[in-house]
Structures are given as C-alpha cells and as structure tokens.
C-alpha cells in the first residue's frame, strides 16, 4: 500500500506498450442548423493495450463523440485516428471492439441468453460455440441462472450486466463503455464497479470508459482523461498510481483522495475557460 507510487506507475505502463487507439489532432465539427458545433478539437491521445482509461468532464465536452469516433459511428472532420493500427472502419469490420451504451438496450423480445448470443449469431459462431460463450460470459458477469429470463424480469443493474456480457461474448480486445452505470443507484454502481475491475483483471481487455463521477473514474482507471467543452478537448491526463488490485475501501486512502482532488481541479480549470 505505501510503496513508492512511481514504481507502480512504471509497472502499469510498461515500455513495450502496444497502442490500441492513437488519435492525433483529432477534431469533429457537427454542422447544425444553429451553426457548427465543435464536439472535439485537437485531441491527441494514445490508449495502450490493457489500460483502463476513463473520460470525465461536464456534459457536452465530447466524451460520447470520442468513443463513437473510435467505434466508427461518427466520422472525424480533422486529424487522424487509428484503432489497432487500422482505420476505425477497418477495425469495426474486424469486430475489434465491444460497445456498451448508456441504456442497456437489450432486445425485449429475446431472453437474456438470446441477447448475449446476438453478436455471436451475427458473426456466424456455431451453435455449440454460441452456447459455450453465452454460458461463460453470463458467468463472468454473475448472471448464471438468468438465461431464460426476459429483460423486463431483471433489475436495471442486471440488465446492464447482461449488456456488458453481450459486448464480451465475442473476442474483441477493446471494450468501449459510455456511462454504462449512469442510470443506476450508488450501491448497485459500487458493486458493478468492483465486478468490472475484477472482469478487467481476468480478461486483460483494454477499456475506454465514459463517466460523470469522479470517484468512479479514480477507482476504476489506470489513466483519467479530463475533458472540457466548447470546443471539446482534453485538458488533463492523470496517470493513476493506484495498484491494479483495488478493494472498495481504497477510496478512503490519501492516494485516492489526492487523485480525486487533481481530477476535480482539472474539471474546475476546464470550466474556468468559459
């Protein structure tokens, strides 16, 4: 716990790091009826393999837009971006990432196992393989036993876990999550945060995570990207000195509070620019 943070920081970002997302001078301007909206401007950012990167900032600062650009759901208007060394479109066609939306968005006409099997059906996995993977990922998110239930029979937190299972069912190394726990109450959220860290440790995936909550960002991330609006841009990048192993009560340690403080300062500075 009290070991030198600098050493751990080195450990969490090794020299041989392999970039998963590389953005250089990235910009995206939406042309709207009320004139252009600069959702992203001059974003330079690299996300390395195995990292847990959180994006935090007031609403409208371009967090969702950045995730959507990575996912090839939105086209940048300036700069360049590579995902696994390819264009976002190529990466999407190779099914390089799983995307978790803010709403669980399970299909109401499918059972939980059928929902998790949806990407597998589309990607042409065999029936046996589908079954095995559905079983494994539902286990991973602690939903074993709920296979035959329909979404409306599950709580909001369970639905969101099912939607995470759906994004994990196929072999994408990158998981993009846009405020996945935003609509849930704090107790459920704490629990899911713990499970998400556990899942990240077990699968070794790279995670891009959008949040509004400072404690959530600090608790989960190896790196925190602080953003500010008009135009949407990165104002601070904070490498976390916290160990990868994080019990919930780590949130009361001085190190944790120090990072939280720095994030808060970063957010305030971003606001001061208005």
């Amino acid at each position: 716990m009290n070991a030198n943070p600098a050493i751990r920081q080195e450990a969490s970002s090794p020299q041989t790091s392999q970039p998963v997302v590389e953005a250089k001078g990235l910009g995206l301007t939406f042309e709207t009826n009320d004139g252009p909206v600069r959702a992203l401007a001059d974003v330079d950012l690299t996300i390395n393999k195995g990292e847990f990167v959180s994006f935090i900032g007031p609403s409208g600062c371009g967090k969702t837009t950045f995730l959507r650009v990575i996912a090839d759901l939105e086209q940048p208007t300036a700069g360049e971006i590579l995902v696994n060394g390819m264009t976002p479109e190529e990466a999407r066609r190779k099914r390089a990432y799983g995307y978790v939306f803010q709403a669980a968005g399970l299909f109401p006409w499918r059972t939980i196992e059928q929902n998790v099997a949806l990407p597998l059906e589309i990607m042409g996995y065999s029936k046996a393989e589908q079954k095995e993977r559905v079983h494994r990922t539902l286990d991973l998110v602690n939903l074993a036993g709920f296979e035959k239930k329909f979404p409306w029979q599950l709580s909001g937190g369970m639905q969101q876990r099912a939607s995470i299972a759906r994004a994990l069912a196929f072999d994408a190394d990158l998981l993009l999550m846009d405020e996945p726990f935003g609509a849930l109450d704090e107790i459920v959220r704490d629990h899911l945060n713990e499970q998400l860290l556990d899942l990240w440790a077990r699968t070794g995936k790279t995670i891009g995570f959008v949040t509004h909550s400072i404690p959530e960002a600090v608790y989960l991330s190896t790196r925190i990207i602080v953003m500010s609006p008009r135009p949407g841009r990165v104002t601070d990048v904070i490498d976390s000195p916290l160990p990868r192993e994080r019990p919930l009560d780590i949130r009361e340690t001085p190190e944790f509070l120090e990072i939280a403080h720095r994030v808060r300062e970063g957010l305030r500075a971003g606001h001061g620019d208005d």
Binding site: R92, R93, R95, Y99, F101, F107, M123
Partner: protein, 308 residues
Amino acid sequence: MTAAADTAPTRTTTPVFRRAVEGKALPILIVLGVIILIWYAFTVYLNAPWQIDAYERAGTEWTATDLVRDTMAQERPVLPSPHQVVAEIWKTTVGTRLTSKRNLFYHAWITLSSTLLGFVIGTALGVLLAVGIVHNRAMDKSVMPWVIASQTIPILAVAPMIIVVLNAIGLSGLLPKALISTYLSFFPVVVGMVKGFRSPEAFQLDLMRTYNASGTQTFWKLRWPAALPYLFTSMKVAVAISLVGAIVGELPTGAVSGLGARLLAGSYYGQTVQIWSALFMAAALAALLVGLVGIGQRVVMARLGAKP
C-alpha cells in the same frame, strides 16, 4: 367469522360467472340491453304508419297493443324487430341444409374465402412495400404518395372496374373479388409496417453496426421483431376491411352467392329481414376474424416475452 361466511358463496361460483359480474361483461350487457330497447322502440315508430294505413284500409278496430304486436311482425317492415332478425338467422342457418344455396353459412363461406385470399395477398403486398419504402429512399419518395392516393378513390367506384377489367382478361370467380379486398387491406399494413420497421431506436441500429451486421441481419434480428406488434395491429384493421371489400366486390358482379349478393337481393325485393340478417352475419364474421388475429397476436407476443 361472518366475513368468512360472507365470502364462502362467492368462492363456489364459477370463475366465468365472477368475471362476467366483476369484469367488462356487465357494462357490455347493459349497453346491449339499451340498444335492443331503442331498436324495439324504433321498430314500432317506423313501422306504425304503414300498419295504421293497413288497419284503415281493412276497416279493423285497433288498440295500442295491437299496433305494437303487429309492427313487430310485418313481412316487409321498414325496420325489422330484433326477434324477427334472430328468427330469420336461425331459420337460414341451423334450419336449412348446409349445402343449400339458401343457407346463410354457405353465403358467409363464399364471402369469407375471398376475404381471406384478399387479406393474405394484401398483407404480403403491404409488408413488401413497407420493406421497400424503409430500405430505399427513392421508393420512400415515390411510392408512399401513390399508396395514400389509392385510398382516396372510393372503393365503390373502383370495384366494378376491377371486376370488369379482370373478367376481360379471363379472370373470374374468387380472384377479382379477393383483389378488391387486397386493394383495401394493403393500406393499413403498409402504413403500420413502415412505422414498425422504423421503430428501432438509433442506438439499437448503432449496436448492429458495431457488430458489422449486414442489412439482411439487421432486418431479421432487429427491424422485423420490432415491427411485429405493428403488424398485428394493422392486420386487425386489414382483415375487417378485407371483409368490406369482399362484400362490395359481390355487389356489382350480379353475384348469386355471398353476403353481398344476399344484401343486394334483399334490397331488390324489399326483404329487409334478409338484409338485416346478412348484415349481422357479416358483423359476426368480422368480429370472428378480428378476434382470431387478436389470438394470434397474443400467442406470438407471449413467445416474444411480452409482459403478460
């Protein structure tokens, strides 16, 4: 103790009866009773002038009771009484050989077969057009106005033309009549299914995109299941107007069988009782068809996890 004694009798009553008393059945029965009463009142009122005329011509003495009794038993009343219609329906269904041309079920079957054929073609056509409209911008722009325009032309004007034109190219019998049902029934299906196919939310379509799903996959795994509730709702409307189409299709053809033919023959010969029984048979048929679609809807929706 007393409470238990009070509730005991209700427990022994059948669920059907209890549902009838507590549920929707009672209000419906009350409304039905009121309608029948009003109907009887109008029967007396509308048939009285002719009856009084008849009494005077025959020079018979008459009382109010006589008038009420006789207005309800005319052979060609302006408005037949409910029990006359019921008796006529009974006589021409249960009381007649099923294969006889005088059996109302025989006529109902003729109309039903063309209703169903037209409905099936209409629904298929409606779904296909909706698929085209949703997937193709040019079709969205060009087809939809024609679909709407088609319904502004009164069917009574179109029906004879369809029959005559199809007869001229050698098509007769069931199909021309069915096509009039199709003409009416494809419309609610197109409108409903365009809405249904467009009902998935933007993020659900985005989700399919993140899987790199093909257009066909997105259609079968997202758009089609999302549209199913809309399909059933529009099919309920479609099947009812298919029946109207089949009846209208029987009017200009000089058809000798079918509910439409019965209506027409009834009006030629002033057989109002026959007209009303054909009307009631048509209404019962419509209720049956809509009910069947409703049952299909409940079965399919239950399988697709709809909340009970």
